[in-house]
């Protein structure tokens, strides 16, 4: 081996930074969707501000024998921690989320349920008092925690309250909801039923969103709401329901762009790190390369040797770094240490992510090795054997007018 094995350690550490952050960054990007949707769930929301979804839509979908959870959100700070508070019908919600009660019970209309992750973070338990401030209107709710639930999803970071209380705190009209979630819903059947009954609603699952009884797409609604927000303040203030669309649009767009920015920054740092380590490792072996060339090894032969060793080292480093990175991320996140927007981050790790990160790292490292080799090849074997150093930069610069010429 021309390149020393210890370079693999440096390479691995450099790649580890990348592999241990990408699953978390990806999780940050998918969190808003996970909070509002969930697996096997169809979500309905308001399209037009003057036609908010209400209890009659809930009755219609329930009549189709679906498990339906009508909900209202409140984003606030409890005990100094950002938390999502959801107004729900607890039985339907627990069914839709596939959740169960760990402690306590649900009784009457004054329940306060907290998710298991929130319980761990806050140290609160059944019987403790909790004070929840309103985020959209000046209000305060004080109650006693009646139960702790676990769902294995983002809801574990939330607090559940009766819908009527949250509706008042969110300043929503009576009988209205922000979203209605349907377990195992068929988007076509639901859209068709809503269309037949003349309801104007956005129905979505994943990236597929359709609207009923309106010529506006969901994106156009969001754009219109934003336009009203910025150009017609008075009209905007009269449309309470448009806040949710704006929040979702601004949050998801900003989060996606910011996450992309961090991924690029992360990749750049890893690239620079890997390049520096390999170039140092190869440069340290310039004498050996000089000897090989002096005894007759062709440039192509040297290139092939370096390429083979770079691929070997980077493959090994990338594989170990990927495994270690994913393991570290899983350990850290399972302990609930990474919390963003009041949500515990659940790292996204997929086989395709593993493959592309592995391939990318091997490619970048190998190319870096070849790039450095090309620079060394320009130096004669005798100078390489003598262990040449990079020439010191001149301290005194020539005046620019000597180069450009001066005619004034």
């Amino acid at each position: 081996m021309i390149i020393k094995w210890r370079a693999a350690v440096g390479l691995m550490l450099s790649i580890l930074v990348f592999t241990s952050t990408i699953p978390i960054l990806t999780a940050v990007e998918t969190t808003p969707q996970d909070v509002f949707e969930g697996p096997n769930v169809v979500v309905m929301s308001t399209v037009e501000a003057d036609k908010p979804i209400n209890s009659s839509v809930v009755s219609l979908i329930r009549g189709m024998n679906y498990t339906v959870s009508p909900e209202i959100f409140l984003f606030c700070v409890v005990d100094g921690m950002p938390v999502t508070v959801r107004g729900v019908d607890p039985v339907s919600f627990l069914k839709v989320e596939g959740a169960s009660l760990l402690k306590g019970n649900v009784s009457g209309n004054t329940f306060v349920l907290i998710g298991s992750s929130f319980q761990r973070r806050s140290g609160l338990d059944v019987g403790d008092k909790i004070v929840i401030p309103g985020s959209a209107s000046p209000s305060l709710y004080e109650g006693t925690i009646t139960g702790v639930f676990v769902s294995g999803g983002p809801a574990d970071d939330e607090i559940l309250l009766p819908t009527d209380i949250i509706r008042e705190m969110a300043g929503k009209p009576k009988g209205t909801y922000q979203v209605i979630r349907v377990l195992d819903g068929n988007i076509t059947t639901i859209s068709s039923a809503l269309r037949n009954q003349n309801y104007t609603v956005a129905v979505g699952s994943g990236s597929h969103v359709t609207t009923t009884n309106t010529n506006m797409t969901y994106e156009e609604t969001v754009a219109m709401n934003l336009m009203l927000r910025y150009s017609d303040e008075a009209a905007f203030k009269t449309t309470n329901a448009s806040h949710m669309g704006i929040f979702a649009q601004r949050a998801s767009s900003s989060v996606e762009v910011a996450v992309l920015g961090f991924i690029i920054l992360d990749a750049s740092l890893t690239f620079i790190g890997s390049f520096s380590i390999l170039s140092r490792a190869i440069f340290d072996r310039r004498r050996e390369i000089g000897i090989l060339r002096a005894i007759g090894a062709s440039n192509m032969k040297i290139r092939l040797i370096i390429l083979r060793e770079s691929v070997l080292l980077s493959s090994l480093s990338a594989f170990v770094a990927l495994l270690a990175g994913f393991l570290v991320v899983n350990l850290v996140s399972s302990s609930g240490l990474i919390v963003v927007f009041g949500q515990t981050m659940r790292p996204v790790i997929t086989l395709s992510m593993f493959f592309w990160m592995f391939a990318g790292m091997v490619l970048v490292s190998s190319m870096s090795g070849l790039f450095v080799t090309e620079s060394i090849m320009r130096v004669s074997p005798s100078r390489l054997i003598a262990g040449f150093e990079v020439e010191k930069k001149p301290t005194e610069k020539a005046d620019i007018s000597e180069i450009l010429g001066a005619d004034i």
Partner: protein, 576 residues
């Protein structure tokens, strides 16, 4: 092409250009710039961009009351009263010429701002003593569409962009006490011209001052008296400017930026860029042995790649929520601009590798402009951030112009060295066409950027031209006491800033999506069905012809003007 040693490229000083030549160059540059800035007058005598209406409103107020006041309840008027220099100047001009401010300003402002390229020509020639670099730098500012738009439109920033190179020039000559005093006056004066220009000039000067202080300290030549004079004459005046903005409650309009959290974020970003600037200035480079490719493709190119990446990303996905995607027309028009930036990167690399006096200034302008740009990106990707970004970007143009001048001159020097020194026929046969091709390419590229300033409808989805019949309609609506009026964003803002007519700007959305339009009066144009109604910062809203006609048929048309051949078609006021 490899450039080996300094000596190989060294060119002698010829002193071929005298003071008269210089004056002639400056005059020609002034006239070229003036003609380009007057292009909007071929379309309408009214101000090019709607900011001009609130300026004219402030000037009208000064003329009618005879004094400057700070008490208007109208949004645009109250905001522009706080930086009153331009409206005052406009009032004087209007009183002297007898032309109303609204019609005078599009003639007057270019007269002033057309002096920027000649001044930059003088500025660059003083430091480089090279005619090619000076002319190229000035031509960039004369032709560059984005800069033309800023200095040809009616906005306070136009005057700020004139004062910035003046301030930088005075700073570089501040050993002369007269220039130091003039610099202080410029810094006080610019406070009343434009707040963002004040901020940017302060950032540039503070960066340069910091570098000078570090350099002199390292060399053991730092004089406490000079340092105190610098601190009193630059950042202290900046602090007083800030106090003035607090006093006139500029934070009512820029409350977000005056918030303490935002200030801490801004200062943190500024500190990071300050450290980058010092690192940039301390780094030394060897001059020879580099190919042209390596001169351009060093680490600085990363900034260009990131900018282009963001630009392309915005064509597919909105980077700033609620704004407009980068249009394919803008992507195509930006190509010559990007090529010119590559020339500038070459020029900047040359400046880093050879001794010169202006690198600290050029670097300060580049780095200083990145402060608000970075701040806008980290504070949140909303409309306000987008405004900070695109309004800050063009302060970089001064540095780009100088770097471009150096880059082009360097290429010309290379050609001269290789083809013109022995004056053999064979060399000249290649050299003359090559030099001609170089300058022709630069001029063509510069000219190709002009549409960036004047094809704003196609490129940015913004109609900056206001026609006389549109203003007549708004004036008529006010005189007939039509209130409130529903319309689009452009006409709504003119009504708000100049006519003080109560209005709503959501009519195009309501028409497009068949919502009831409740305004008792509606001001609308035929162009809503063709190009669309302007809804800046969002994209234009195109209304269906059927919905448009139906609204006209349902209501009484109480005013109509324009003609079918006019670019905006007819304008209507509806009642009922």
């Amino acid at each position: 092409m490899s450039l080996d040693t300094d000596k190989k490229l060294a060119l002698p000083s010829t002193g071929r250009f005298s003071g008269r030549h210089m004056l002639a160059y400056m005059l020609v540059l002034y006239l070229i710039t003036l003609l380009i800035r007057w292009i909007p007058l071929f379309l309408s005598p009214l101000p090019y961009n709607i900011d001009g209406f609130s300026m004219a409103g402030v000037s009208d107020g000064i003329i009618s009351s005879g004094h400057w006041s700070l008490n208007s309840s109208m949004y645009g008027i109250a905001y522009n009263q706080k930086t009153p220099f331009f409206p005052m100047l406009l009032s004087e001009f209007s009183l002297i010429t007898g032309i109303s401010p609204l019609y005078a300003e599009q003639y007057m402002l270019p007269f002033i701002t057309a002096s920027i390229p000649p001044f930059v020509f003088y500025f660059v020639s003083r430091f480089t003593r090279n005619i090619t670099a000076s002319v190229t730098a000035a031509l960039f500012l004369a032709f560059n569409g984005l800069f033309s738009f800023l200095t040809g439109s009616i906005m306070k920033e136009s005057l700020g962009l004139l004062l910035i190179p003046v301030g930088l020039y005075l700073y570089m000559g501040r050993e002369d006490i007269r220039k130091r005093i003039l610099l202080c006056l410029v810094l006080i004066f610019i406070t009343f011209v434009h707040y963002r220009s004040t901020l940017m000039l302060q950032i540039f000067l503070i960066l340069m001052l910091s570098w000078d202080t570090i350099r002199l300290f390292d060399a053991g030549k730092l004089r406490l008296r000079h340092l105190l004079m610098d601190i009193i004459g630059i950042p202290l005046i900046g602090f007083i400017s800030l106090l003035y903005y607090f006093w006139v409650s500029m934070q009512d309009y820029y409350g977000k930026a005056f918030n303490i959290n935002e200030m801490v974020l801004f200062l943190s970003v500024a500190l990071i860029w300050f450290l980058i600037y010092i690192r940039f200035m301390k780094r030394s480079y060897s001059a020879g042995g580099k190919s042209l490719f390596r001169y351009i493709m060093d680490w600085k190119v990363i900034a260009l790649v990131i900018a282009l990446g963001a630009f392309l990303l915005n064509s597919r996905k909105l980077v700033f929520a609620g704004t407009i995607n980068t249009s394919s027309a803008l992507l195509a028009t930006a190509v010559p601009y990007v090529i010119l930036i590559l020339f500038s990167l070459l020029g900047l690399s040359i400046m880093q590798r050879y001794r010169n006096k202006y690198l600290p200034m050029v670097a300060a302008i580049y780095v200083g402009t990145f402060v608000p740009i970075t701040y806008s990106l980290v504070r949140g990707l909303d409309v306000f951030s987008q405004e900070i970004l695109y309004r800050s970007y063009n302060f970089m143009d001064f540095a780009t112009a100088i770097s471009l001048g150096i880059g082009v001159t360097f290429l010309y020097a290379v050609l001269k060295r290789y083809f013109f020194t022995n004056e053999s026929k064979q060399s000249l046969r290649v050299g003359i066409p090559a030099a001609f091709a170089l300058f022709a390419a630069v001029v063509i590229l510069l000219a190709a950027t002009v549409p960036l300033g004047y094809d704003t409808v196609e490129l940015f989805g913004v109609q900056n031209v206001t026609y006389e019949y549109e203003v007549s309609a708004i004036d008529w609506a006010k005189s007939a006491n039509c209130t409130p009026v529903g319309t689009d964003q452009r006409l709504g803002d003119i009504m708000r800033d100049y006519n003080n007519v109560s209005h709503s700007k959501s009519v195009p959305w309501k028409l497009k999506y068949h919502k009831p339009v409740n305004s008792p009066f509606i001001l609308l144009e035929d162009s809503w069905t063709t190009w669309g109604a302007q809804m800046h910062p969002s994209s234009p809203v195109k209304v269906q012809k059927a919905a448009f006609s139906s609204l006209i048929n349902q209501r009484s048309v109480i005013f109509s003007s324009g003609h079918p051949d006019a670019p905006e078609g007819r304008i209507y006021i509806l009642m009922g």
